[in-house]
Amino acid sequence: MTDISQKICLVGDFGVGKTSLIRRFVDRQFSDRYLSTVGVKISRRQVEVAEHPSNPLPGRNIQLLIWDLEGRSKFKGVAPSYLQGAKGVIIVSDLTRPETVRGVGDHIDLFHSVNAQGAVALALNKADLVADPAREAKSLLDPQQYRRAFATYLTSAKSGIHVDEIFEAIALKLLTQA
């Protein structure tokens, strides 16, 4: 079985839980301190999609190189050069902080400015902290931005809900594109 590797990025505002999501998901990772030095932390995860019914290339797995980019703050944006070569992006927002959900569009714009054809998935994180996350999401998320993403998940790093799913979805998407 041969693997292909793909780079994906996780972007989102500061403190939305990108790093926690990755920690939930990945096999191996560098220390978190790189985030504060270089502004990026790279993790890896082999995703088994070989037997997935929608895998167009059966017999091929995918290895995700996940670039956890330092969260955008009002002082510092995401470095576009880190987005180069990424076939997909998971844009993470915090359901408990509406401004992070509303800022999703900016992140998509930035990503598409570097990778016009890249796949975008939305992770509306900290879903466990919200009573009705679906409704909350619906109220906060601009439908136009929602349509720009191929998939949107209500995730929780704490409970692990939909974490594997969102990564597997993007893996399958990349495999389909490749």
């Binding site: 990772q29 993790s43 490749a178």
Partner: protein
């Protein structure tokens, strides 16, 4: 008469009617049909036989009626008809003459066409369109130049219009030929196309860099890499030169080792500093940071290559974003150093090679690394550019090349690690060198002392000889030999000085070679001394019997050689020819004599002495016996080598004379000389009746009766 006229008119009238009727009722009738055929061709005109009488009566009636109604006007109509007929014939005639028709129609045609276009433009277009291409084609074939001229004016405008209206179409039309056109133009006038393109090249490249920097980097990488390396080689050479002049203990030691091993010192320095190992080499996709190809040492700690590559790429991006100046178009990370380890990064357009090493990679290895990368970019650049995360899609040879690279670098490292030689070799070399230096110092000192002693001996010997002491003579070493030097006025002194010095040197060192570098300088001779020498020699030569020499010494101021300005003029006589050469050589040896003028004569004594006889007498006259025998005797005594032939003469007409008497006379003289003590073998007697030399029959008779003498050279036998 009237009937005839009527008939004629009636006939004419009928015919005219018929013709008119035909002309009006059938205007489309084809003109080939001759008018005279008309009556016969009209079947309705043929009357039935039964009705013919009635018809004739009717015709006659009609004629009368016609006459009554029209009267004279009939004649006018006839005349008109005749005119029309003529016109018709003329037209028919014209019709069959094309030239006439053309002349007739020409003025009308343009008007007709013009009118037609105006009235029905579309129809005209439709009629002409199918012909236009053919017309142009035909015309082009007939007169290409004219057609070209006609089209030339509109073609540029047409193309311009075409480009404006439909750039895609004209691009499509021209595209396949552009390459050929450029190639042809290059063949025709290379300079022109260079001139055209050159000013834009810089801007084009700049624009291309702006548009697609990575592909430009990839394109230029193999060239620029080489150029920079060439430059760096020069720099290293300069450093090498500087190193080679450094004179330190370590440097000298290294120099000796370099010489022993037959390598340059710089290489040795390099080798000494080498202790390296290639741990891994990763070919990484530049933008995504994905590993395209990796080679790792199996025995070492395996690297998490994908994450490493990603992080390295991120760091590269970070450095580029944060540190590199915005204006610096190309600025990339080249090396990361941590402790003993290094990550060498060699960038190309779409990928980069990260080599993780322990220790510094030597230049040769870096060169090889770059060459490998250049080759890969050159041959597989397209595949690398298109890398999408699938390593299997890359040509396997890239993996193999990288593996070879790592293997060969590590092989280089293992070679370099081998000790260059046992350490005591250097000690032995240094010890040997020290011993050699010491021995050579001692040997040199002893040699110098010995040489000095030899020179002193030679100089002392030269100074001790009084005739040489006044000259500035010396001795010096020439290589292993001693040269005796200085100047003396004579060859003799030169030889003498050399002999003296050589003897002294031989006494001190029998094997020493001695060379003579003394110069014998000719001094201007002393004219007084020369003249005295000439006088002295002359006196000596004049002591020889039979030799009377007068010698004068003269100065020739115009002589070229100042050492030979004297001229000796010799005059006088001598007994033997060989004396002349002896005298000449003796005078020529006198210093200051450059030329010799020899007027010496060889005089043979006795030849002038003649003893005379009375008529028929064998006995010389008494007075001759008394005074002439003795000088001959003295000549023979003075010249012991001289021999005399005694010749008697008795003319044939002398009473009792002749050969017999002549011989008697000679014998008598010979006996007289023998009686005086002359050895008989030195004297030979002969007689002849012939007259003696310089005497003839006309001379007094007594002159013909004589005995004379001839000297015979000692080496010759008597005749």
């Amino acid at each position: 008469m009237a009937t005839d006229d009527q008939e004629r008119r009636g006939f004419k009238g009928w015919r005219s009617r018929r013709q008119w009727a035909i002309a009006t009722s059938a205007p489309e009738q084809r003109p080939e049909t001759a008018p005279q055929d008309r009556p016969a061709a009209a079947p309705e005109e043929t009357p039935a036989a039964a009705d013919s009488a009635i018809d004739e009566a009717t015709d006659a009636g009609l004629q009368v009626l016609q006459e009554l109604l029209l009267g004279d006007r009939t004649a006018t109509i006839d005349a008109r008809l005749e005119q029309l007929r003529e016109k018709q014939q003329e037209l028919e005639h014209h019709y069959y003459d094309p030239k006439a028709v053309i002349n007739w129609l020409a003025p009308l045609i343009d008007r007709v066409i013009h009118e037609k276009i105006r009235s029905s433009r579309d129809e005209m277009c439709q009629s002409l369109t199918p012909l236009i291409d053919e017309l142009i084609y035909q015309r082009s074939r007939e007169d290409r130049r004219a057609m070209s001229r006609a089209l030339a004016e509109i073609v540029p405008a047409a193309i311009e219009r075409c480009i404006a209206d439909s750039p895609q179409t004209i691009a499509k039309a021209l595209a396949p030929e552009v390459a050929d056109a450029i190639r042809l133009q290059i063949e025709l006038d290379r300079e022109a196309i260079i001139d055209t393109l050159a000013p834009e090249m810089g801007r084009s490249i700049k624009r291309q860099i702006e548009l697609e920097r990575d592909s430009m980097v990839d394109a230029l990488y193999p060239v620029i890499g080489n150029t920079i390396r060439k430059y760096m080689r020069e720099v290293v050479r300069t450093i090498n030169e500087k190193v080679s002049t450094a004179l330190t203990a370590e440097g000298i030691g290294r120099k000796i080792r370099a010489r022993v091993q037959g390598v340059s010192e710089a290489e040795l320095i390099l080798r000494e500093s080498i202790d390296f190992e290639v741990m891994a080499a990763l070919l990484i996709h530049k933008s995504s940071g994905l590993v395209m190809v990796e080679v790792q040492r199996e025995d070492g700690h395996l690297l998490e290559s994908e994450m490493f590559a990603g992080m390295l790429t991120a760091i590269g991006s970070f450095v580029r974003d944060c540190i590199a100046e915005p204006d610096a178009a190309v600025s990339d990370l080249n090396e990361i150093e941590y402790g003993e380890s290094r990550i060498l990064v060699e960038m190309t357009g779409y990928c980069y090679l990260a080599t993780i090493t322990r220790g510094d990679l030597p230049k040769a290895a870096i060169d090889q690394l770059r060459r490998t990368l250049q080759r890969l970019v050159l041959y597989y650049g397209r595949e690398m550019e298109a890398f999408n995360g699938d390593r299997a899609a890359l040509p396997p040879i890239i993996q193999q090349s990288l593996q070879n690279l790592v293997d060969s670098c590590n092989e280089m490292a293992s070679k370099a690690k081998k000790p260059p030689g046992p350490p005591w070799l250097l000690v032995a070399l240094l010890g040997g060198a020290a011993a050699v230096v010491m021995l050579s110092t001692l040997w040199g000192g002893w040699q110098a002392q010995r040489r000095s002693a030899l020179l002193t001996a030679a100089r002392g010997a030269l100074a001790d000889r009084p005739e040489l002491a006044i000259y500035n003579l010396g001795a010096r070493f020439e290589g292993g030999a001693i040269a005796v030097t200085g100047r003396v006025p004579q060859e003799r002194l030169k030889t003498l000085a050399f002999d003296v010095a050589a003897a002294a040197i031989a006494a001190a060192d029998g094997d020493r070679r001695v060379v003579n570098r003394i110069q014998a300088v000719r001094q201007p001779p002393d004219p007084v001394a020369a003249a005295a020498e000439v006088a002295r020699l002359t006196a000596i030569f004049n002591e020889q019997p039979g030799t009377r020499i007068q010698a004068r010494y003269q100065i020739n101021p115009s002589a070229a050689d100042s050492a030979a300005i004297g001229v000796v003029v010799l005059d006088g006589q001598t007994l033997q020819g060989k004396d002349l050469q002896t005298f000449e050589r003796a005078y020529a040896r006198i210093p200051g004599v450059g030329n010799l003028e020899n007027r010496l004569r060889v005089v043979r004594p006795g030849t002038e002495t003649r003893l005379y006889f009375g008529v028929g007498s064998p006995q010389p006259v008494a007075i001759d016996t008394r005074y002439k025998i003795d000088p001959v005797r003295r000549f023979l005594v003075a010249n012991p080598a001289a021999r005399l032939r005694i010749i008697g003469h008795s003319p044939a007409d002398e009473p009792n004379g002749g050969d017999g008497l002549a011989r008697d006379r000679a014998e008598r003289v010979r006996a007289a000389l023998i009686a005086e003590g002359i050895a008989p073998q030195r004297l030979a007697a002969s007689g002849t009746s012939a007259d003696p030399p310089q005497v003839s029959a006309s001379d007094p008779q007594w002159t013909r009766r004589c005995v004379r003498f001839e000297t015979v050279p000692p080496e010759r036998p008597f005749p």
